[in-house]
Amino acid sequence: MKESYSLTLDVKRYDPDTRISWMQTYRIEAGRILRFTDVLRKINKELDPTLAWNSSCEHAQCGSCSVVINGRPMLACELLVENAVAHFGTTTFTIEPITVAPVLRDLMVDLEKAYDRVHRIRPFIIRPAQNPNQGQEYRISPRVMEGYLEATRCINCFCCATACISSHKGFLGPNAVMASLVRIMDPREDATADRLKQLYSEEGVYRCHSSMACSHVCPKEIDVAHFVALVKEGDFR
């Protein structure tokens, strides 16, 4: 077992001041279980404080640190150096921003713009269904919830949307479709017809080419394509 690795990181940079984009190479020694967020922090400390990157919780719960590493969208906070070396079979890595929103600087993208798609599906109960237990909780059987619970684990990291071959154009994107489907399957939502209308519209699921890239890259290991397929089949409850 190697204790540390000499890494070569080719990082895509962008300066909003000059509007110039370029690849910058950093060579850095990194311990085997450092995460890529730790490596980026090490670059800030030892080589270049100006390199901008995004993160928040740094344990795969918030989805802020998504980047594209050697072509694959992933969370920088859960990629360990030795796993990256094993997975890609190299110590040279290209790190680029995710592609679903404009770049602000270096690896930081305007996530607010990416979220526009999620906002469009209205990520809340649009019209509450009648609750027989007024003033108390709705009664929902765990059997009913089983159908969509997995999809509620989504953290909107946009890895799936980045990998999705269609999401760059008019498609709502896999994560937004999944968020809407959760409410369609949730017995507390009454506005399922409105939701379906949107999911079957121009920006809806027919833009999906079933490449299943979404499921393949999801850091939470959610079978996103399964949920998109449910929408396509119209099979909800």
Partner: protein, 598 residues
């Protein structure tokens, strides 16, 4: 240089919410329910509200279900009071506990995906320190959404705020509060994306920016929890309360600082030092690994200090081991799959065959911006700043006193968020105050300074040294000598920062700039924590002085600390509210100055 800066815009709104996590957006949702059309601006430092620290809370949300035949609100109040080491304010404890179930129903009705039992009702689990009949038996009081309760809350309040029409300003920071006399009239913000400064006039300004865990080297807190509102409040001449009351979780996973939950010890995990000795037997011969959190944390810290820790070369942190190798496959697969998974995911080791590295990890700041039970910010022990509110971890009402019980934090943020909303609604018909003529000047001189400074020192280097020093001297154990060392080191770090200028001078999305500003905030907060800890010559809850190991009645008061100029602190006391005890109702005797013994 500062002449270059100007306010890019001055805007008006009804309510300015700074910090769009659970507390801030619960407040927004309440206001919009009562007064649709209210113009609310919610500001967040992170890339999107969903990325807030609230999202990372795992366990649950304590609330007494009125349908429960066994549990009662008075038991929850007692547990909270006892856990607080007699420093929670009883008016606040009563108010939050009484409102708790309503909030659960609200969250559920709005769409939170709580875990349910076979009948479709909300499932409940038990947590340390939560009991029925005043400590007699464990209470099943915490509702939860699998192991992601905080995410459920966050998704829900964000959705409701969005539905109600809140305007969000993402990646925006609060740099200055605008006060006119005893009233807050708004704030100055810096929008990171365009690199613009902006003044916002508001009838109500709500601070809900979260904690300050980044003060410490190993923490469960998000990267953005740098005590920003705390520092801005100090600058405005307002106090912070009980900042020395910091909670450390005994077993954080080394490096990332993620919680390795208590469950590991309750299912039989054994703590070992570098000689593989099961050392808990020396500290708690009977309870061993099952001793209370603070005792376990101090035992681990002692092992490390006395040279029996192990250094992790990658993260350069010392730790002890937790041994899970002897546990059955059933335990690994069924009882601890998540935590087992964390070790695999973030340390690349297999808990069935390998020892796992853990050490105490900073977890929660019990202190914060002092408020009354309505969430109104105080300027002194008995006066408020009108128009200024605080809720969530950055606020301190105080519900937790000197030690917080598990599952009480997200309860506090959601209820206090609503209480602030209720109070704000009462003031919406008032006219907004005029912004001061010099709005922004302080910010411009601060930020201008960063651009002008020499580039001799490295911000990340100073930050790392500060966090290490805070962990060593102001962490799990504190002594007079260590605290004095810490205070000196903080002053020295502040001096070094005067030569830590920026390489990137463009204001747009300038991470270097924001981190430079954050470090100023971290240093201010650290100084208040260290000096508060030095002044409090006793041990109480999360504040453990090895030179004063007992709780002492003369310190039965909240600490208010004022610090306009770095290092120069003025202290005052705020009495602890003991209204449950004083009204002499049923069981009042349980709410006196009781011992915190389990």
């Amino acid at each position: 240089m500062q002449k270059m800066f100007k306010l890019a815009s001055k805007i008006q709104c009804d309510v300015l919410i700074i910090g769009a996590g659970g507390a801030g957006l619960r407040c927004a949702a309440h206001i919009l329910e009562k007064r649709p059309g209210t113009r609310i601006i919610a500001v967040t430092k992170v890339a999107h509200p969903q990325k807030s620290h609230t999202s990372t809370a795992q366990g649950g949300l304590a609330a007494v279900d009125p349908k429960d035949a066994v549990d009662q609100p008075i038991y929850h109040m007692f547990d909270t009071w006892k856990g607080s080491d007699c420093m929670a304010d009883q008016d606040v404890v009563r108010k939050i506990v009484d409102a708790a179930w309503e909030e659960i129903v609200w969250l559920e009705n709005k769409g939170m995906h709580f875990t349910r039992d076979e009948e479709g009702r909300l499932s409940k689990r038990t947590f340390g320190g939560h009991t029925v009949r005043f400590g007699e038996a464990s209470a099943f009081r915490a509702v939860f959404e699998a192991d992601r309760t905080g995410k459920g809350i966050m998704d829900n309040v964000w959705g409701e705020a969005l539905k109600g029409g809140v305007t969000f300003l993402d990646q925006t920071i609060l740099t200055e509060l605008l006060l006119q006399g005893d009233r807050c009239v708004g704030a100055v913000l810096f929008m990171e994306k365009p690199g613009d400064f902006m003044a916002v006039s508001a009838k109500a300004t709500v601070l809900s920016t979260g904690g300050c865990g980044q003060v410490f080297r190993v923490t469960t807190n998000c990267r953005q929890n740098t005590g920003d509102a705390h520092a801005v409040v100090l600058q405005a001449g307002l106090p912070l309360m009980d900042m020395e009351a910091v909670q450390f979780h005994p077993t954080g996973i080394v490096g990332p600082g993620i919680l390795a939950s208590e469950t590991l010890r309750s299912v039989g995990g054994i703590l070992r030092n570098k000689d593989l000795e099961p050392f808990m037997a020396r500290y708690a011969p009977k309870m061993k690994e099952l001793a209370p959190r603070d005792l376990v944390a101090r035992a681990i810290e002692t092992e490390i200090r006395e040279g029996r820790g192990i250094l992790n070369p990658d993260h350069n942190i010392e730790h002890v081991w937790i041994d899970l190798r002897h546990l059955s496959d059933y335990v690994h697969e069924v009882q601890i799959p998540e935590v087992s998974g964390f070790f695999k995911q973030f340390m690349n080791l297999n808990p069935r065959t390998q020892l796992c590295p853990v050490r105490p990890s900073n977890h929660y700041q019990m202190g914060g911006i002092p408020t009354n039970s309505f969430g109104e910010v105080q300027r002194s022990p008995d006066t408020i700043v009108s128009g200024l509110y605080a809720a969530g971890e950055c606020g301190c009402a105080s519900f937790h006193g000197f030690n917080r019980l598990g599952t009480n934090s997200i309860l506090e943020l959601i209820t206090m968020g609503r209480f602030v909303g209720e109070r704000v609604v009462l003031h919406l018909d008032e006219a907004p105050g005029a912004l001061p003529a010099d709005a922004g000047e302080r910010t411009f001189s601060q930020f201008g300074g960063y651009l002008e400074l020499k580039q001799k020192e490295n911000v990340e280097q100073i930050r790392e040294e500060m966090r290490r020093m805070m962990t060593e001297q102001v962490g799990v154990f504190r002594t007079e000598e260590g605290l004095k060392t810490a205070i000196q080191a903080l002053s020295a770090a502040k001096d070094r920062l005067r030569e830590a200028g920026l390489r990137c001078k463009d204001l747009r999305m300038n991470q270097e700039l924001v981190q430079r500003w954050e470090l100023d905030n971290l240093l201010s907060v650290s100084m208040v924590i260290a000096q508060g800890a030095l002044r409090r010559r006793e041990s109480r809850g999360g504040h453990a002085r090895s030179d004063f190991p007992q709780r002492r009645d003369q310190f039965n008061a909240h600490t208010l600390a004022y610090m306009v100029e770095f290092g120069k602190i003025r202290f005052e006391n705020r009495p602890v509210n003991m209204s449950i005890f004083e009204t002499k109702g049923d069981h009042f005797d349980k709410f006196g100055l009781i011992e915190r013994k389990y």
